[in-house]
Amino acid sequence: MYEGAVQNLIDELGRLPGVGPKSAQRIAFHLLSAETADVKRLVGALVEVKERVRFCSVCGNVAEESECRICRDPRRDTSVICVVEESKDVVAIERTREFRGRYHVLGGAISPIEGVGPDDLRIKELMTRLADGQVTELILATDPNLEGEATATYLARLLKPLGLRVTRLASGLPVGGDLEYADEVTLGRAFEGRRSLDF
């Protein structure tokens, strides 16, 4: 244990994803010996991201205004919604230029081990968006791993009574992986070859 401020910093860093106690200590000491100006820039970036960036009130994607760039774009097709786990998946799909509809960011996937159930995801918000009947197709683009599949299964069952066309990205995506790591060509193909889910 270190004294007050240093230990506080280590504790805070240790709460970040992917940062264990050893890395937290290393980063803390790196910051201690860094130039004041560099540290101030980092602090500025942290504060700015919290002040300026928020989540789109419609789809949950990161946004700098109350709605994200995609939801505000009138050229986007409003009859299709692509459901993804995280904002970074939106970026990955946008890179393929295959998709002209809108998104819905769930904020994760169902994972009982991590204590994440349907109520912890933005599923109610999705149901609200579907209420006016404008949307006719829903593409479930959760990660091609177990938790992503389970989330897709859950949604497909939930949506069944609405009578929408519900599709899942075609296989060919690296199984067990993250959508964001799929290359553009593979992801683009997966979009084209999406198949209807039927439960």
Binding site: I113, A150, T153
Partner: protein, 378 residues
């Protein structure tokens, strides 16, 4: 196939070892505790990515070292592959194939195939169902490495489902909260799908093993008594037939899960699925476990391993046969018959504390093992 070269760094008692091996029979001799099993265990690790002695990898790394490296050159016909595994307990292993990085461990699974006989094999007959499930699953993976993925998918589903059942049952007991059945049904479906794939493969395998076990058992012992394998699924009642067709197995599992649901919610664990199954072994009308004599149990255990060997051999290529200190456990008749049976394998690696325990026909190239060093005897 055969292993032509083995190199170890910080594996068990070996700081460094480097040895050339030949096809045919090789025998490792040395007093107990000198490192014979460690050596053949390392070869088994290259084949299965696990130890036959311990469930986790930490004990495989030499005390005081951070990671162990096992490198083996495997010759199959006119092709040679160099497999290197870096064992990092608690973290992902790293693999290299023919010295090039960027290989995933699962890409090198299945290149080397081994069948390992060890004193622990008696627990195939006398031990818990888990021992027999592992026997089946390891054989599945050796025959088709993709089953390693099927197995880990199933285990992942099981973990998730158990976590859900556990929290649902805790909430029920504390707050009388009704469980979220929609979410549970999603996991039922995934458990049934992953489970049906594993279950179907095990059923086919058990049927293929049956005649081979009978034959091997008959060759090992002159006593009467016919061995039988019976796959006992937790999804059906004793005596009920299981379909072999995968979609039908999915239905069977889903129905069994539906029936077990109240009990599962009460206890907070998954009670139905391949993780609860057993491969029951019978001799004549009696279960082998609890009834068979020590000699009969050994014959059954050896017959299971030999059947596995025959099955892999029939796929087109002899697996490397490893006999770790088993002769000391057997009477002279079983020793001789086992030796007779395995002699023809492309490569046989034998270890023994007392050279006299090894039948003369299995005395091939001799290696002396002493305090973590191996030396060829000329």
């Amino acid at each position: 196939m055969y292993v032509s070269h083995l190199q170890l760094a910080d594996y068990r008692s070996y700081e460094a070892a480097n040895l050339e091996l030949e096809p045919g029979i090789s025998t490792f001799v040395g007093p107990n505790g000198q490192g014979k099993t460690n050596l053949v265990e390392a070869i088994g690790y290259v084949a299965t990515h696990g130890s036959h002695r311990v469930a986790n990898d930490a004990p495989l790394v030499r005390r005081g070292a951070e990671r162990a490296i096992v490198r083996a050159a495997v010759v199959r016909g006119d092709r040679r592959a160099v497999i290197e595994l870096e064992i990092n307990p608690g973290k992902a292993n790293r693999a290299r194939l023919n010295r090039s990085a960027g290989t995933r461990p699962r890409d090198v699974l299945g290149i080397l195939r081994t069948v390992l006989f060890a004193p622990e094999d008696l627990s195939l007959v006398k031990g818990d169902p888990g021992e027999r499930r592992r026997f089946l699953d390891e054989l599945l993976v050796a025959r088709a490495p993709r089953y390693a993925g099927v197995r880990s998918d199933y285990e992942r589903v099981l973990k998730q489902r158990n976590a859900l059942l556990k929290s649902a049952s805790a909430r029920y007991f504390k707050q009388r909260a009704e469980p979220d059945l929609t979410t549970l049904e999603v996991w039922d479906q995934h458990l049934a799908e992953a489970g049906a794939e594993l279950l179907g493969a095990r059923l086919v395998l058990a049927a293929e093993l049956q005649p081979l076990v009978e034959k091997a058992y008959g060759e090992l012992t002159s006593s009467a008594g016919s061995p039988a394998l019976h796959y006992r699924s937790s999804a059906v009642e004793e005596g009920d037939e299981l379909p072999v067709d995968r979609p039908q197995l999915v239905d069977v599992l889903r129905a069994a899960l539906a029936e077990a649901r109240p009990q599962e919610l009460r206890r907070g664990v998954s009670l139905v699925g391949p993780h609860r199954d057993d491969l029951q072994l019978r001799l004549g009308d009696l279960p082998a476990k609890g009834y068979a004599s020590q000699g009969e149990s050994w014959s059954f255990a050896l017959a299971l391993r030999l059947a596995g060997f025959e099955l892999l051999r029939a796929d087109g290529d002899d697996p490397v046969l490893i006999l770790d200190d088993v002769f000391a456990e057997l009477d002279s008749e079983r020793r001789r018959k086992l030796a007779e049976h395995v002699r023809t394998a492309e490569q046989v690696l034998v270890s023994a504390a007392v050279p006299g325990d090894v039948p003369p026909e299995l005395m091939g190239a001799r290696y002396r093992v002493r305090e973590g060093t191996v030396e060829r005897e000329r």
